[in-house]
């Protein structure tokens, strides 16, 4: 126990404003929290569906929860059930085998709901494109509010995408 406490104290607080143009992004972060409060009352819950990604986007979604980006510190958390979610995050070009599961997950989320498509595949079909097995971009299957490009998008870009989605909801 002593070692654990010592390490926690030594580590300190790692959470930072995203490391690009400082001030503007710090503002972005604050705005995000404020918007979340305005629109959703207290917190934003996200449900993720991997609809056909290479798992690269998932790596970065894991990363937004690490101590540096600390998404949960902003009142945004990932939930296990679509019934608890406000926002659906979708990665990958949608494989035909995931089409039904994605639609059902979307339908299971209560209104008002937002959808963010993540990564080049989710935005425009990416490298896998449209084929016998793949339906391409997420908006070919369900309505999408915001797209975040990148292969994979960085944690900062993912956070900005979520902010944009929350901001555009009236």
């Amino acid at each position: 126990m002593y070692q654990i406490l010592k390490q926690i104290i030594k580590t300190g607080i790692k959470t930072e404003a995203p490391p690009l143009a400082d001030e503007s992004l710090r503002a972005g972060e604050q705005r995000l929290q404020q918007k979340v409060l305005e629109v959703f009352g207290s917190a934003l819950n996200i449900r993720l569906v991997d609809a056909g990604s290479c798992n690269g986007c998932e790596l970065e979604i894991h990363a937004v929860n690490n101590a540096y980006y600390n998404l949960e510190g902003l009142g945004i958390k990932f939930v296990a059930s679509p019934r608890h979610a406000d926002l659906l995050l979708v990665t990958g070009s949608v494989s035909r085998h995931m089409e039904v599961a994605l639609k059902r997950t979307y339908d299971a989320i209560p209104e008002p709901k937002l959808v963010v498509a993540l990564g080049d595949c989710g935005c425009n079909g990416g490298i896998f494109g449209e084929s016998y097995a793949s339906l391409g971009r997420v908006s070919n299957v369900i309505p999408v509010d915001v797209v975040v490009a990148g292969c994979p998008p960085t944690p900062v870009e993912i956070m900005q995408g979520i902010l944009t989605a929350v901001s555009c909801k009236k």
Partner: protein, 512 residues
Amino acid sequence: MKYTCPDLKLLELNGAIPAWQVVIEASELQVLCQKVADGGGRLVALWACDERASLSRFVLHAVLVNEAGLLCLHLPLPQEFPVYPDISGIFSCACRMQRTVFDMLGLTASGSQDMRPWLRHGAWPENSFPLRKDFDEAGRQEADNYPFVQVEGQGVHEIPVGPVHAGIIEPGHFRFSIIGERVLRLEERLGYVHKGIEKRFENNSLLFGAKLAGRVSGDTTVAYAWAYAMAAESIANVVVPKRALWLRALLLERERIANHLGDLGYLSNDVAFSFGMSQFWILKEQVLRNNAALFGHRYLMDKIIPGGVGVDLTETATLLAECDLLEHEVKLLHSILEEHAGVQDRYIGTGCVAPALAAQLGLCGMAGRASGQSWDARVQHPCAPYDQLDVQMATHQNGDVAARVIVRFDELFESLRLMRDIIAKLPSGNVLAIPLEKLPGNGFCLGMVEGWRGEVLVAIHTDAEGNITRVHPHDPSWQNWPVLEHAILGDIVPDFPLINKSFNLSYSGHDL
């Protein structure tokens, strides 16, 4: 050492890994597989090609491995009767590969016990085969009602899980048959993220293929890109600059380090030890940031290209400092985890795959080494620069979650040693030969790299003009997914996330 098959004409296959190839007849397939299996060898990959247009035939390809190297069997099959003898009785992991060969090309393994579809759900009809050259994309079929094996008895019930899981993970379906909380049987149903990767390679450029190979499984992008480049360079007989090879190894070890750090974090998280989660992920983030700063991509995608690498290392101080930091911190976290009774209570004895079972089922890679299967391509078949690095293989006999954690720690420390060694010995010179854009005609070669999860194999075939006609990327998850069904037996349902994470297999790399 060499394969001893006096009746067969083995031809040495050009490449960085010792490999031989031979054209066989259907009657020889089982005999040869049995012979390799008896000698302690394993099946690495199984795929097929449609050569009906040029030679009126299909060809089944199987890659086996033993201490001598790789043995690639080519079995031509007449187009009117594309049937070959079942080998899943010899290598149990062949079962799902054979089912996939049928789904994709319509070749039947005669005598197989399991003829259910595997990667095909409803995206294409039963009598249509995507990897045949005359495949019609228009066909669809309603999602079939997949026949799971039923477990019956008083008090037995089923829990279906997925394809959409509770956490941030890839999709797949797990069917648990349980009594109380104890798992009597687990059956997997994968293929949800089948996105037609193999078809996508066909008739596309070599460089597009390199990008695509790097996205077969995003967490293993370096290993795939290297294996793909290795196969392409072997066909073209290109000499890759030494510095490029050493940089590839540096990138591969960094990928291993990042993934092991992330997994150790999640293995802490899954036993509700959130301290471990945040600590390991702080370290992983630092590695990723150094990747971005030094190589231009957090996960090192598209940095390995056929002919060399697309990025050079200009300073080494950052990496050496990172090595020191990781070594110090990981040692500390290791001792904390080791001494934490609650953590060890969940790890020890959970998800056990004994060495005998692991050998029988062909468990490979990092999970295999934790169950006494001492295979590591960097050790047995070291391509440059691993032939000069003397990699120390990490193994364990217990085969439980605890063993897989220990092997991860050992490999992490070994990768840090390798990284320092690579930096010290890094040769000077170019990092890219003339970029390879086109391959010679009628080529076939293999590339194999020990990724963090296990051996990654890529096979490339070209036609008479040198166009890519077929690429088969093979993930070690093919071998290891079926073993997970055994690992959970006798444990309880809440142990499954922990056991699953301790293997951390790829869905994308498997579903293709």
